[in-house]
Amino acid sequence: MTETLPETPEESTRELPPVEAEQVTEATRVTEAVDDTDDDAAPFRPGIGGWIARGLIWALLAWVVFALPGNILSPFELGVSDVGHASKAAIFAIIGLSLNVLIGYTGTISLGHQAFVGVGAFVSAYVVVDMGLEFWVAVPIAAAVGGLQAALLGAISLRLTGLYFALVTLAYGLFAEETLFGITAFTGGEGGKNVPRPLGFEDDYTFYYLCLAFLAAVLWVDWRLMRSKGGRALQALRENPRVASSYGINVKAYTLMAFVVSGIFASIGGALLAQQSTFLVPKTFSFQLALIFILMTVVGGLRNRVGVVIGSVVFALLEEGTLVHLLHLEGILDSTIGLPAEFFGLVIGPILLLLTITLYPGGIGQQIAPIAQWLRGRKFDIHAGKVTEVEVTDVRA
């Protein structure tokens, strides 16, 4: 999924090698030292062979993302259900990016994100089924309602911080699951609701590309967010609210903005999820889902778009048992350990979380940093991910 990321080498922040100890003593000399290393690093251009190698890897990645699940030029005969899982993976990536806006960029945690997703799903389903409108109308409406509920929840609960804020989001998630999604007139109640797919995207293959298109749009917005006014404000206020406010940033307003953006992303993910499963029941949006969302975002790597996408894909496939199936592990899990493949995500998730926080706070994003840098046309540096800006203390709750 990496090639959907519209990043170019010029735009990515340059990382300088650490200044050597002896040069730290005098300010003026360090200035020179930094200048020197900068000159050395800038002119690196891969040779023709290097570009071909990079091109091949890009092509391979593009093939995996675009061709493999769509059965185009694919050597494998993929079943329809596998393509459905690929769609789900793309949708989870959108949801992961949504949560990344909160946890990664803003430094606040949401333990009720399944409700954000659920609101999007049910609003979209309601618009399509009960109002008889097009899917293309339903998505903007779902996004608007999702943004609105996030604004309401944020306006009330952002008066609290840390653990208490997390508790409010947790309570909201449970309230939505138990009460909001139980309103029969709105959600169809326990019985659920059939949600038809939009015209032209009825089959799983085309629907997968629709999901990819939405993921690309979300990636674009996320990328522009972090390179413009709003994202910079979030970065400043996450790290130091006092400094941010002294820069003239309205800390509360921008935190709320992050909430709304996250709500909009999550609702878009939810709207797609409703279409993907075609049959929507309130039970889907349980607290377990919120946990998976947090796990996949943190394990993927906070503030690392590619990492979050990969992490989300992994957990989406784990949740469906697809990854286990692809690796032919069902036999072992089911019979030997007695663990159904569907629960594998919840078992392996916390283990991955532990490993992430202790070994690689930057998650998958940090681990793939050398390859990601190389693919962007820079020298292969195995230590590229060593200086990570993600710290264990980043997630405050």
Binding site: T13, K229, G230, A233, E239, S246, Y247
Partner: protein, 274 residues
């Protein structure tokens, strides 16, 4: 009309009197120095002016307008910029990025438009970066523009901080120990820079510093705080040789005086500092 006017300001934290009846003023184009031993309430005063603390009593006026009820970011919008004692910068990003962030209020597009990537935002972004580069050049920091803040030494960061506050386009600059971590020569150079900045931008500067030679070099007027009260005020030379000030800093007994005014332990006082 003075740019900044503080009248009878008192700040109490429970039983602790951080500030008591402090009054001060800074006129147009003036550089005002604030000195005093550790814990004298200097930074507390800044925190009241910028809005981090609510004073228990007293008035704060900026250009004749009471600002005591405004939140921090609105005071920045009015033109009050400040630096922090422990370097107030976003550490996980580059120097230039900090200067761009600090131009927050100058940005003429909506954050939502920026998110969608409207064509106007790209032009504005490069304008912001240009402005950042100009300011960095002015403070002789062009070399570190793309260096990560966390990788730079303290002395450089103090200058970066000044460049960053200037990016907020202030009329009144509050500098909290701009000379700390600098040697005598660097401090002197900083003094020259401050005088130059005042000329270039027409700004008023209020500066806290322990570096008495620096304060004397640039200030038009000096206040000395001790135990939350104004101990002395006046021209720099006069305050510097004021017997109470000397005593507060050095713990010396001026000959004839036998007052019981409590003497703080003047830790870390060297020739250079008084």
């Amino acid at each position: 009309m003075s740019v900044l006017e503080v009248r009878n300001l008192s700040v109490h934290f429970g039983g602790v009197r951080a500030l008591e009846h402090v009054s001060m003023e800074a006129g147009e184009w003036e550089i005002v120095g604030i000195i005093g031993p550790n814990g004298a309430g200097k930074t507390t005063l800044f925190n009241c002016i910028t809005g981090f603390y609510r004073p228990s009593k007293g008035k704060i006026r900026y250009r004749g307008k009471s600002i005591a009820r405004l939140p921090v970011h609105k005071r920045t919008a009015l033109g009050i910029g400040r630096t922090f004692q422990n370097v107030g910068l976003v550490k996980n990003t580059t120097v230039a990025e900090n200067l761009v962030t600090a131009q927050h209020l100058e940005i003429n597009y909506d954050p939502w438009a920026g998110m969608l990537g409207g064509p106007a935002t790209f032009a504005e972004e490069s304008r912001l970066r240009e402005r950042a580069d100009q300011l960095l050049e002015l403070l002789d920091l062009s070399d570190v523009a793309d260096a990560r803040v966390a990788d730079l030494p303290y002395g450089v960061l103090k200058r970066v901080e000044i460049a960053t506050v200037l990016a907020t386009d202030p009329d009144l600059l509050l500098l909290d120990e701009p000379g700390s971590g600098m040697g005598p020569e660097e401090a002197h150079a900083l003094g020259d820079t401050l005088l130059e900045l005042r000329k270039e931008f027409g700004i008023t500067i209020v500066m806290i510093d322990h570096h008495v030679p620096l304060v004397t070099q640039v200030s038009d007027y000096v206040y000395c705080l001790n135990f939350g009260e104004v101990l002395a005020e006046g021209r720099p030379e006069a305050v510097r040789s004021h017997p109470e000030v000397v005593r507060a800093y050095l713990g010396e007994e001026p000959e004839a005086e036998a007052e019981t005014a409590s003497v703080p332990d003047a830790d870390a006082v060297s020739e250079e500092y008084v």
